[in-house]
Symmetry: C2
Subunit: 218 residues, 2 copies
């Protein structure tokens, strides 16, 4: 908070600059989370934050720039990866799925993730951020730590399952997937993520089997 | 086509009603596919179809109603399910993944699917359609045909992986997932879908002993 902001703060008439920024970012996360990038407006975000729209433009520039600022993750990805690598390697998939579900169960993070996922479907900048998260984020760091061939493909396969879970469970909320427990999902999805990151993707049993011809399109 | 439309059609000045409807539906699919529901406009769709926006309203009503009409699937889900059930039961996952990838590789269907996935992130009606597809569509029919417990959960788990694939490969187009071959994806995702529909979701090996954990489906 700046000196000027502190001085004003005491009057109770106007919040300080850093307080205003925080409120706008929180309002932006909630609005992008509820409505996605396309439908969210600077005016609506300003209204929710209780500030003048001009102030939002002043601090953050365009809606696009505000989105990028609002979507900044509240945790350190490198720290997250090193924590996930602690424990039996064969249970990494379970730990990763449990960690992702815990993130979604944290209300502030859920808004952030919903905003990212919703907006990525229509907005190129948001799509670019999701693409980068899938291609270069924790997924790749985990796949690389496992040290099997095709780390980049493994990372995006794991990401595809976890993005799909996000859409089905949180965005469209399809039952029973939306209501089952974290443990049920860890048991269901953990082995999938484990196999994508560390398992055999070529599925050698199947391609060497005698019935392979019947796998042709039906 | 109505009699009046046929009569006008012969003059070459104005397309017949069913031709106009088809052109509007095609334009709507392409526009919803490119931009999603929120950013698509009746005006833009009319422009692409080469018709007056008033005509679009006349034939289809609101943008919401046009969306529902445009998203109608060009194939019979029941027929699709019965075809997928032909062949070795243990390769159903592979067949399903291959079938879904072939749908995405058909340009007209790709627009339709992109429109549905993109729009479901922000529009309640589109989200409801995707929810229904996941909860009651081919996923559930396949899970029921397999006849294992928890068919509804199995259906939505399989759906979550295939929706996630759609987002990662076609909407945000993350590499290398966006460029790998159909066969690579069938080998990577087929076993996942197979396990969700027909495998052991409780992962008994894992809950009964730590040393067996590496026996998780690979």
């Amino acid at each position: 908070m700046t000196g000027a902001a502190r001085t004003r703060g005491r009057t109770g008439r106007r919040p300080g600059a850093s307080d205003t920024r925080s409120r706008v970012l929180l309002a932006a996360r909630t609005t992008f989370g509820d409505r996605g990038f396309e439908a969210a407006t600077i005016r609506g975000i300003a209204l929710r934050a209780g500030v003048d729209p001009a102030l939002v433009h002043h601090y953050f520039g365009s809606k696009q720039q505000l989105f990028v600022a609002a979507m900044e993750f509240p945790f350190d990805p490198a720290l997250m990866v090193s924590r996930l690598l602690v424990g039996p390697r064969e249970e990494l998939g379970d730990r990763f799925v449990r960690f992702i579900l815990e993130l979604w169960d944290t209300p502030a993070v859920r808004s952030l993730l919903l905003g990212g996922v919703r907006s990525a479907s229509t907005d190129p900048v948001a799509a670019g951020m999701l693409r980068q998260l899938l291609a270069e984020g924790p997924f790749l760091a985990l796949a690389r730590a496992i040290d099997r061939p095709d780390a980049a493909l493994r990372a995006t396969l794991a990401g595809s399952q976890l993005i799909g879970l996000a859409i089905a469970r949180y965005v469209v909320a399809v039952e029973p997937l939306a209501s089952v427990s974290t443990e049920t999902l860890v048991r269901a999805l953990g082995p999938t993520v484990q196999r994508y990151l560390a398992g055999d993707l070529t599925d050698a049993e199947k391609v060497t089997g005698s019935t392979q011809a019947s796998a042709a399109p039906t």
